[in-house]
């Protein structure tokens, strides 16, 4: 792909027995918001750390902005910004000092570092708190200061590892707005997230990874379409769940999966109403009466469940009550 600003080929990384990355390949186009989606331990952070030159892969290659991360890390570092999974800011410095310091380390002259820091803090709605020590900040403010530090060098490529984890919904929308602005300005953003609606609303393209491998990649719409026409979702009494899963196996050539967060069984329904009818007949024959059953268009939750067999992390945005 000629327009790829990040290009990953057959990347391998093992920690002892654990294969954090198991032959992952991926191309990311310039100027997009690209989301990495995957359950805990899928290898998202490992990939970001390799791309940010913090970690060496055991095998395969990765290019960022045309430079091999292994052979030319210095060139890569000039063009990237990183906000890691945990905010890396100094508690005893003020927000402004943290941001300015990072600007200086990017090589900006003092005056320019100060001006850039001021702009970025303003943009992240931190201007009022900028001269307080970070130890007085809330969790969401700490994340935003970390983000400010990653932006102050005006990187071409921004790596954000779970940028909105632990952030309240209002700040989250702020951060989303900021990320959109950045991309309008030509920045490429690679982010990881636990929140599917974040990927759905924010990302131009999404890669689902699991066990260090790429499971599926495309726009949110493409991923949903790949799950099949629609999705059958039903709830059955807890003691009948296992037999229901067994009975529904093979309907439409798919299999039912239990979504621990929604508390329902989910099954791809390629034939729509016909799938629904067949499922009901089979359940009837086994004497299982669903409390509730229905067809709906696939959401990213369904995609995630379908591809990884695991329920996505509970949403922080949707007011979904879990039983």
């Amino acid at each position: 792909m000629s327009n790829a600003i990040i290009s990953v080929e057959h990347l391998l990384k093992a920690y002892g027995e654990v294969k954090a990355l198991d032959g992952l390949s991926l191309d990311i186009e310039r100027g997009v918001i690209f989301a990495l989606l995957g359950p805990n331990g899928a290898g998202k952070t490992t990939l970001i750390r390799i791309l940010a030159t913090l970690l060496r892969a055991d095998g395969g290659t990765a290019h960022v902005a045309g430079y091999d991360v292994r052979r030319n890390p210095a060139e890569v570092r000039r063009r990237i910004g990183l906000a890691g999974q945990y905010a890396a800011v100094d508690d005893y410095l003020t927000g402004r000092e943290n941001t300015e310091m990072t600007g200086r380390l990017y090589g900006l002259p003092r005056r320019q570092a100060r001006a850039r820091a001021g702009e970025v803090l303003e943009r992240l709605h931190l201007a009022d708190a900028a001269d307080r020590q970070v130890k007085t900040y809330s969790g969401g403010m700490r994340r935003r200061i970390d983000l400010a530090a990653s932006l102050v060098g005006e990187p071409d490529i921004l790596f954000l590892d779970e940028p909105t984890t632990g952030v309240d919904p209002a700040s989250r929308r702020d951060i989303w707005g900021l990320i959109h602005d950045l991309v309008d300005g030509g920045t490429t953003v690679l982010l990881t997230t636990q929140y599917l609606e974040e990927a759905d609303q924010l990302a131009d393209r999404i890669a689902v990874i699991d066990h260090g491998r790429l499971v599926s990649e495309g726009t949110a719409e493409q991923l949903k379409a790949r799950t099949g026409g629609s999705v059958l979702e039903l709830s059955v009494p807890d003691d009948q769940r296992d037999s229901a899963v067994a009975i529904l196996g093979g309907v439409d050539g798919g299999h039912a999966t239990y979504d621990t967060h929604r508390g329902t069984l989910v099954l791809p329904a390629r034939r729509g109403a016909n799938t629904l009818r067949e499922a009901l007949q089979r359940l009837d024959g086994a004497g299982i009466r669903p409390d509730d059953i229905g067809l709906h268009q696939p959401t990213l939750d369904d995609v995630f469940l379908h591809l990884t067999g695991r329920a996505p992390a509970p949403s922080a945005l949707a007011e979904r009550t879990m039983v």
Binding site: Y86, L105, Y106
Partner: protein, 265 residues
């Protein structure tokens, strides 16, 4: 100014600010050497005075101050390990490593900030020593040379601590490693007592280990040649101390940088 120099300056400033804004660390690391000096002076001083060379003028404080400056220089290097370990645990090292800056800047900035801190602590300790009766037997230039030598040796030790702080993940393990090694080393040296009072096997070790060499060099510089074991000269002790300092730097600067490069949090 080259970028590396600017980066080192920025990181040094950051680390020094931590000392000012988290003063508990600075206060504790100042109280410790002063307490040590008082303890050894009053608990052991009376019993020891007879064993001292004439250059000490019969006053234990004269013997003790140069020794304890050597000890503090070594202890003062330990925060290098803790500081780097904390930076790694907080992800700050990750951020620094993702930035277009010289690999050596984080380590240089850390060790330089600890050098400044050590200069502050050693000066304070010397002041307390003078208040308790320490009397310089040579010249002010000799005293300045002694302080510079102590700080140079402490700086070299900072690079050992930097290697340790980056190689070990667990802060408590670092604490244990530092005190298990540094404490016995300062006790089996001439910091508190002339090695002639030790059993022969121990004296042989003590006479040759660097903390004794540095203590002797500081004593020679502040009390004169009479404070040294027979046959030793001030110049000889100072040169040996400098050789240790340079030797430690030659081994541990590259080692610390390599460990930094590999540090993965």
């Amino acid at each position: 100014m080259s970028n590396a120099v600017i980066h080192i300056g920025v990181i040094t400033k950051r680390n020094l600010l931590a000392n000012l804004r988290l003063p508990d660390v600075l206060v504790l690391s100042t109280i410790q050497p002063v307490t040590f000096m008082l303890l050894f002076l009053y608990v052991f001083g009376g019993a020891i005075e007879n064993a001292l060379p004439a250059a000490a003028q019969g006053e234990y404080i004269n013997w003790l101050v140069p020794g304890i400056l050597a000890q503090s220089a070594v202890f003062g290097a330990a925060p290098t390990a803790f500081g780097l370990n904390r930076d790694r645990a907080n992800g700050v090292i990750d951020r620094f490593r993702s930035l277009p800056m010289a690999r050596s800047a984080v380590l240089a900035g850390r060790t330089l900030a600890d050098l400044v801190r050590n200069a502050f602590i050693l000066t304070l300790q010397l002041g307390v020593g003078i208040a308790l009766g320490f009397r310089l037997q040579t010249s002010i230039w000799h005293l300045l040379a002694a302080m510079a030598l102590a700080l140079a040796f402490g700086y070299a030790c900072s690079w050992i601590m930097a290697t340790l702080g980056l190689a070990m993940k667990n802060a408590e393990a670092i604490q244990a490693a530092v005190y298990l090694v540094v404490f016995p080393l300062t006790l089996t040296s001439s910091v508190f007592l002339p090695t002639s009072t030790m059993p022969e096997w121990l004296a042989t070790f003590a006479d040759h280990q660097p903390i004794t060499i540095v203590s002797n060099a500081l004593r020679g510089l502040t009390l004169g040649e009479g404070a040294l074991p027979v046959g030793h000269t001030i110049a000889g002790e100072v040169l040996t101390a400098l050789a240790w300092t340079v030797g430690i730097l030659v081994v541990f600067v590259p080692l610390a940088i390599r460990t930094y490069r590999r540090a993965v949090s």
